[in-house]
Symmetry: C2
């Protein structure tokens, strides 16, 4: 899978063997997932423990707090998170629904923050997790402001159908993207998860042409009307955009 011919490659293969859902993996499982020789995996994992990227428990290995800490040193994501927090708070307080902040990475969204209360709609998104661009509200606004090339790259590739409502027709999706640029918001209606609705707005760079991130509000079908939160989401996104512009000349 990965090029694990170098030591570093092996180490990363082990670290990346942990999926979003795994908490602790035994050595044998690491060997299976990485394809490394047992002896090698054992030693490299041991080194990683020594360097505080892995914790060793009775039942196997686990990604450690040191890695968590290191990850939060990533400058762009961290400052984005810090600058965004007040706006996300405002948005949450106004809506009391799940609020997301996400950036684009390749053909997917990576969620930088997810905040919600006790009664939040169950959604598959997780902080630090990924979702496809084409079936999420944030994904759509990010895609709408991506370069023409990247846009067509996504649209021409086969679009994964997540639910019966997932938009997999490139034409319809492109129309939604155009609409997103015109109105400043994009919607998702049970396209990634049944029972989940979502509105998102783009956080634009000073040039007004590229999207740095996206902010969304998500809620369950029934009580939740995404349209009624469009203004709030747009306000939060543009507010964050201009704050970023002020600090990053």
């Amino acid at each position: 899978m990965e090029d694990s011919d170098t030591v570093l490659g092996k180490a990363l293969a082990i670290l990346r063997a942990f999926g979003p859902a795994d908490s602790v993996l035994p050595l044998a499982e690491l060997v299976r997932r990485t394809g490394l020789a047992k002896g090698t995996a054992h030693r490299v994992a041991g080194d990683l423990v020594h360097h505080r990227l892995l914790d060793k428990t009775d039942h196997g290995y686990r990604l450690s707090g040191g890695l968590f800490e290191l990850g939060l040193r990533a400058a762009t994501e961290r400052t984005l998170l810090e600058m965004a927090m007040p706006f996300l708070q405002d948005l949450y307080e106004r809506t009391h629904e799940t609020v997301h902040l996400g950036v684009r990475e390749g053909h997917e969204v990576v969620y930088v923050a997810k905040i919600g209360g006790h009664r939040q709609a169950s959604s598959p998104s997780r902080t630090g997790g990924r979702m496809p661009l084409h079936c999420t509200a944030i994904g759509k606004v990010l895609l709408a402001y991506a370069s023409e090339d990247e846009q067509t790259a996504v649209l021409t590739a086969p679009l994964e159908r997540r639910t019966a409502h997932t938009v997999i027709a490139p034409g319809l999706l492109r129309r939604q993207l155009v609409n997103a640029v015109e109105t400043g918001v994009a919607y998702e209606r049970e396209e990634s998860t049944l029972g989940l609705l979502c509105v998102a707005a783009p956080v634009l760079a000073p040039d007004g042409l590229t999207a740095i991130a996206g902010i969304s509000v998500a809620g369950p079908t029934g009580r939740f009307r995404p349209e009624s939160h469009a203004n709030a989401v747009r306000a939060a996104a543009t507010g964050l955009g201009s704050t970023l512009a002020r600090r990053r000349p």
Copy 2:
């Protein structure tokens, strides 16, 4: 400084060369901080870029989004964060002051979350950042529930004086710790930063003897009365504690 005799050690030396404040470091600076040979540093950094842990810009290297993502896969911190979020939200909404969630790592607190509004008190804490145990409210509650050995280890070591109000007398500090266990909250009054007050409560494991994390509310001298938020902080912490107990038997 670090044992960088192995490849992995060198790679980590480079990654950890990034302080909390650095966003982009040129190769020469990495060489200076790590003490690696220029050729070696260049190659290892290149490998790290290839493995998406570093980004290369015109002005140097930067910790990448891939690292951010990987860090958020760390199971314990991530689930703690996710389970805690609703309680932190409640707390913020009730107080409208800066809310922290922190865990202990060695003799320091690591902040897992920091949420606040636009008018938050300026504090040195950052998400993913560290602070000494003895001069922060969360640090005190965590230390109060640490093992006897660890407690004395911290108390006997010289305590860094951060401000004129920092408690550096081991006796006084120990009394504060005892008081924290009795009352369920600890305070910090301008002990880490001038103008900053703080209340914290411990998130206890089911056994009621060990602290998993700490929650705090911080605000500026003047308008902010830490005592008046003691109950709210305690409620959030115990609420989170029992929720964690339910999910982690």
